[in-house]
Symmetry: C2
Subunit: 417 residues, 2 copies
Amino acid sequence: MGDSDIRARIEEANTEALRRMLSAQPVLVDVMPLSAFDPSVTGLSLTHSGPPVTWARMSGAQRGAVYAAASYEGWAASREETDVLAASGRIRFIPNHALRGVGPMAGVVSPSMHVWVVQDKVTGKCSYSSTEYDAFFGAYDDEALDELRRWNRIIYPAIGRALRSMGGLELKPLMTQALTMGDELHSRQVAASALLAKRLAAAIVRTSSVEDAAATLTELAENELTFLPVSMAACKVTLLAAEGIPYCTVVTAMARNGTDFGIRVSSLGDRWFVAPAPDVQGVFFPGYGPGDAGPDIGDSAITETNGLGAFAAAAAPAIAGLVGSSPSELIAYSREMRAITVGTNPNFGIPQLDFEGTATGIDLRKVVQTGIAPIIDTASAHKDPGHRIVGAGTSRAPLACFQAALEAWAKQYLHQA
Amino acid sequence: MGDSDIRARIEEANTEALRRMLSAQPVLVDVMPLSAFDPSVTGLSLTHSGPPVTWARMSGAQRGAVYAAASYEGWAASREETDVLAASGRIRFIPNHALRGVGPMAGVVSPSMHVWVVQDKVTGKCSYSSTEYDAFFGAYDDEALDELRRWNRIIYPAIGRALRSMGGLELKPLMTQALTMGDELHSRQVAASALLAKRLAAAIVRTSSVEDAAATLTELAENELTFLPVSMAACKVTLLAAEGIPYCTVVTAMARNGTDFGIRVSSLGDRWFVAPAPDVQGVFFPGYGPGDAGPDIGDSAITETNGLGAFAAAAAPAIAGLVGSSPSELIAYSREMRAITVGTNPNFGIPQLDFEGTATGIDLRKVVQTGIAPIIDTASAHKDPGHRIVGAGTSRAPLACFQAALEAWAKQYLHQA
């Protein structure tokens, strides 16, 4: 093929990827233990965020989450016992993305922990995400473990019963509405979480005991990030639809494990293209400063990969303080991202941009050509295990991932050495 | 006193009025029948929105609401019987404002109908408002009456039990948050209604039967205007604090009954200054056109009187389509209103204005001097009884009300004839 033939082939493939992303119909269908979502996850198995990583190279927050999970599952009685167990190689560490799932921050899910399950009604594919526990920032104290127990014994089961009785909950209309209510559906989920709470409430009452219903509705009233994992799983299942298109240069995943940042590309299968995880630029919460934060972490950049989060920052002026920018800077971010995407998503109109859609479908080629790195809204975990959230801000995806992926693409499709 | 002394006296009075408005701490404390809120409302008594009006001059929507209320209370079996009863002079018509309350659209509340009760923790004063029923647009068919019964027999009692068990709900933080979530707290109440729903949910479950709790939570999930009467009562109780300050030229109420538009002023007691109610500029819903709408109606302009609604329009870009303007026009409205107010409300920061507060405390003098009429977000009722909502848009308060009030002020304080 000549150059123009190849360009046409890529354009066609990328247009198809965007079309599939825009057509997805994510529905929140259930919550269930991870071992029920994927029966291959048994025994000493733990998932984690980002590209594959070994225990030896694992970030502090992820190691803290492993301490919490090992304690929660009863595999080890202390941090020291977990260290020995993990160093022995007996724990199988699996990236969430390898299971078609995602997890915020450390993203460490054990077999018996529940996950939110989202299905795309168009493809029938399912994805999952876990709630963002304190344990996912690396905390493994009694309070962090109590949170895991409360969610998995009371709150998740109540929500699961409600969802099954409702026959699931369509997510696209809810997400579209939340974007008109100040959420960018990554760092800010206040509106989406409130909308989710009110839509589940009656069904929770009908299917749970008064005590469990009250506890669950209290959690939904107080937790302003309930929707984060739902948003993430909706974005992941949307991007699953865009995988496996030959010649396509659309990025289908961006994820970090606190050590490495990795991306995947539609036409390049399950391969990860990695570079060191970047630092987070932003603000620190009281008691913490720049020396405390570990590098960027979490699968939550799946929201930016689907045109939300920082790509939709204009929609969320209230996060300006949190991410260290002004509302007008947020609008500039949303506009800047259009230079590196295939198009925009008319389902996700942003009021602050006169209801123009979010920049959607990151094109590998455009990132490399323009040198504009995708921007990501994010939270900071501590560099060491044992802490909760230390700050929030933005990060930029490392250009090296995109350069490596473009080289691999050229090798595969242009047969360049 | 010389001119400059008088000016100083007015400035001081107006500053005090604004200070009191900003200091108010409205709390949603209960719901109860109107006759419990004010025991003087017994027998054949009905409240209505706007300044005083007789049956002979009453607008179509208000007459329709009277048909619904008379039927609901069992005073009459038909529209014709109600016509005879009303024409006989036996029904006592009371403006809501005369009872320190407010009501959306027709605002026709009968003794046994429930109202939301808001108390200002600073002054101890209470105000009320009623939910915006279809009957308040003038509908009096079986479906409209069923809505009245469902609210008053199931939903209001469930919410009342919940509120009492919670010891009330602070409204200012909720309203502040809703302004960052796309509400202007008059025509758009999507965020505030969702926040209210999630905050009440657990208490509703704990204090109602499963059946009543589920019915109530379903209503709260589906109704995006639940917070309208709460917002109105919060604004009314806030403005009660600013009443009765000598020399003060701050407007403490704007209200319409579908025939007349009236205002009240802090230093001028309970007097109304009226002019014909204006037409609504905006859009019509399917099946209706310009010839169908009656003049502007409702006590809901109390939100604009407190710096919300159209004064905060910039916060709600999603209503641009509804009120027939663009998001940038909405920002212009919010800026324009600063020319006629005493100041701004730092509690009510608008993200789209870089978190500057809403223009608050309409100064009679500035309205007359600039010729800028307060703008009001509003809905349209039909000119005849028997219809539901026909459209939405904005109206402008008639300047004649402000001129008449300023003349009365001059007569009282400058002893001008």
